[in-house]
Amino acid sequence: MSSGRPDRSRNTPLLSSRFWHSSTVRMTVVSWLLLWLLNTAVVLVLYNFTLNTLVKDLTGTIQQRIEKRLSTWPKQLPQHAGVTQWLYRQFAVEIADMQDCVALVDREGELQLSNIDIAKRAEFSFRDFRTATYTGHRWRAENEGDTVTCLVTDHPLTDGGHLFFGVPFDGYLATIRRLNDLRFWGLLATGTFSLLAAAFISGRALRGMRMLSHLCDRVAAGDLKQRMQIHGRDDDFDHVAAAINHMLDQIEQLMEGVREVSDAIAHDLKTPLARLRGQLELLLNIPERSDEAIESVIAESDQVLSAFNALLRIAQLEQGTRRQAFVHFDFRAVTDHARDMFEIVFAEKNIQFSIRADDDSYPVYGDRELWLQALSNLLDNAYKYTPEGGYIGIRLERGENVIVIEVRDSGPGIPIGERKNVFKRFYRLDKHRGTKGTGLGLSLVAAVCKVHRATIALDHGHGLVVRITMPLDMNADDVNDIDADNGTGDTGKIGYVQAAINEVR
C-alpha cells in the first residue's frame, strides 16, 4: 500500500518544495506580508506626521523672524526695480553679526550677498523647504570652519530676485536623522518579528499537520490505538486533536463491534451450518431415504437463513433508509395487532396477558410494520422466558412530548450487568444458549428504536420491563380519522380475543 506514494512519516526539511506547497505555509506568508505592510504603513504615517509638525513649527519660526526683521525696515519697500539692491544695503551692514541664514540673489541669478552656501544642498529636503549649509561662518569666530545646516525658505522679490532666509537647523536635523533611523530599524524589527512569528506559527501548524498525517498513516496501517497528543492549551489544535481522537474512539468501537459480530457469526451461524453438514453426511450413509432427516436438515438451514435475514434487516435499519415508509398512525393499532397474534398463544401457556392504554390516542409518526415486528420480538422474548401461569403486560402511556411503551413479564429478568449487552447482535445470556432463537431479536428492536429516534431501556419489575420512549407525533390531526376507519374492526378483534380468553379458562 505504501509503495506507490512518498513516505510521509519521514521528517521533511523545512524548505523543501512541499513546504511551499503547504497551504498553512502559504497562508502564513500571505498574512505575514499583510501584517508587515500594515506595520510599514503605520510607521510611515507616524513618521510623516511627526516631520510635518516639526517643519511646520520651524517655518512658523522662520516666518516670525522674517516678519520681525521686516518690521524694523521701512514700511514701504521699493516696489519694482531696486528691491534687491535695497535689501543688499540693509544686510551688508549687519550680515557679519547675523544669527539667521541669508542669501540674496539678483534677477540674473548672481549671488549678491550670503552667509550660507546655497549651492551646496544638504541631505534634507521636505516639500518646499530645503536646507543649505553655512560655510565660512562669520559671526562666531570660534566655529570657523565648522559647518552648520540651515533650513531656508525662498522669498521671491518683486524685481525678480530671491531672498533665501532661514534659521540654523542642526538640532532639528539630528532629530530628523533619529526619526529616519527609527523608521529604518522599526520597519526592520517589525518585519523580522512578524517573519519569526509567522515561521513559528506555520512551524507549529506544519508540525500538527505532520503529526496528523503520520497518525492517519498508522491508523490506515491498522493501528487503531494511536491518538493525537493534546497539549491542554485549549486552542484549535487541541480541538482538532480531540475531535480526531473522538472519531478514532468511535472507529475503534465500531471495529470492536464488527469483530464481536464476526465472532458471533463464527459461533452462531457456523454452528448450525456445521450441524447441517453433519446431518447431510449422515443422510448419505442412510441406505433408504428418511423424510424426517431431510426435514430436520431443511429446518436447520431455515434457522441460518432467518438469522441472515434478521442481520440484513438490522443493517438496513441502521443505514436509516426505511423512513420512506413512515406514516402517521395511532400506536394502539400496533398493540391491537400484536394482541391478535399473541393473546391465544399466551393463553395456551396459561400466561395472563393485558394491554393497558388509558389515554384517548397515541399518535406517532413511523413505520407501522417495523413497530409491529419490534413489539412481536419483545412479546416473543417475554413468552420464551415467562414461566407457565405467569404474566405479560403491555402499557401505553402518553407523556408531555412522548409516548412510553412498556412490555413487562414475570420471567427471570436480565441481570443489571448484562443489560447493556443484550442489544448487541447475537448476544445471548449464557444460560439461554440452548433456547431457540437467533440472538438478534433485541438488536432489531434497538435498531427500530434508533430509526424512530426512540430510546429503549431495561428495568426490573416482577420480571423484565422493557421501556421504549418515542416522540409524540405533533402533526396528528388525521390520526383520529384513520383510527375511526379501523375502529370497528379492532373492537371486533378485541372482543373476539377477550371471548377466546374466557373460553380457555
Partner: protein, 224 residues
C-alpha cells in the same frame, strides 16, 4: 398449469424447471428480460415467475411493459432482495406476489396455485363449500353438516383462506401474509396455535377430518 419462467441463473432455472415439472406443470423458460418479454407476448401461459434482477431489461421493466400491453396474467416476482421496500416496489409495478430467495419449492408451488386459482375463479361467490363445510361470506357464518360453528372474525378469515384454497397446500408464510397481514416471521408459534384452535372447532367430533398438516410446509383443507 402453464408456467413461464424468466430467470437468468442457469442452476436456479434448472431447479425451477425440474421442481415445477415434477409437480405436474408445463414450463417454458427465458434467460433474460428481453426474451422473457418476447415469450410472454407470443406464448400463452397461466402464471409467470419473474426474477427481479435480469441482464438487459430487469424484472420491473418487463413487468411494466407487460402491464402496459394489457397482459394481466398473474406474475410472481422472485428476488434475492427480500426486504419490505423491494416487495412494495414489486407489487406497485403490478406483481401479484413476491417471494424472496431462497425459498422452498413447496412455498413457490403453493403460491403459484393460489395465484392461478384467484385468476380463473374471481371472488364473486357469496358462499363456499367443501364437503359438508359451508361458509356464508355475507353473514360470516360457517356450518358443518347441520351443525352451526361459532367462529370469531380472525378464525373466519383463516378458515375462508383455507377453503378458498381447498385441496392445495397453504404455507405458514402465506397464512401470515394473507390472514395476519404480516411480512415477517413472528418466531412464536402464532400460526400453529391458531390452527389448532380452528381445527378443534371444525374437525372435533366429526368423523372425517378436513384440515391436514403437511409436514414441513403448511396446511391443506380438503374433502375426505
Amino acid at each position: 398449469m402453464n408456467i413461464l419462467i424468466v430467470e437468468d441463473d442457469p442452476e436456479m432455472r434448472d431447479f425451477l424447471v425440474q421442481g415445477l415439472t415434477q409437480a405436474g406443470h408445463k414450463v417454458i423458460t427465458a434467460a433474460d428480460g428481453a426474451s422473457g418479454l418476447d415469450l410472454a407476448l407470443r406464448e400463452s401461459f397461466d402464471v409467470m415467475v419473474l426474477d427481479r434482477m435480469l441482464p438487459g431489461l430487469n424484472g420491473i421493466e418487463v413487468l411494466t411493459s407487460l402491464r402496459n400491453r394489457n397482459i394481466q396474467r398473474p406474475v410472481l416476482m422472485l428476488s434475492a432482495l427480500g426486504d419490505v421496500d423491494h416487495r412494495v416496489t414489486g407489487l406497485k409495478h403490478g406483481a401479484d406476489d413476491y417471494l424472496a430467495k431462497p425459498f422452498s419449492l413447496v412455498e413457490l408451488c403453493a403460491r403459484l396455485d393460489a395465484l392461478h386459482r384467484r385468476d380463473v375463479q374471481p371472488n364473486e361467490a357469496t358462499t363456499l363449500q367443501v364437503a359438508d363445510l359451508k361458509l356464508d361470506l355475507l353473514a360470516h357464518s360457517a356450518q358443518r353438516g347441520e351443525q352451526v360453528i361459532e367462529l370469531w372474525p380472525l378464525e373466519f378469515r383463516l378458515l375462508e383462506y383455507l377453503v378458498r384454497n381447498a385441496g392445495r397446500v397453504v404455507t405458514r408464510n402465506m397464512l401470515l401474509e394473507n390472514v395476519w397481514n404480516l411480512h415477517f416471521d413472528p418466531q412464536t408459534n402464532v400460526v400453529e396455535v391458531h390452527m389448532s384452535r380452528l381445527r378443534g372447532k371444525i374437525d372435533k367430533g366429526f368423523e372425517a377430518r378436513l384440515i391436514h398438516t403437511v409436514r414441513g410446509s403448511g396446511y391443506v383443507l380438503r374433502a375426505p
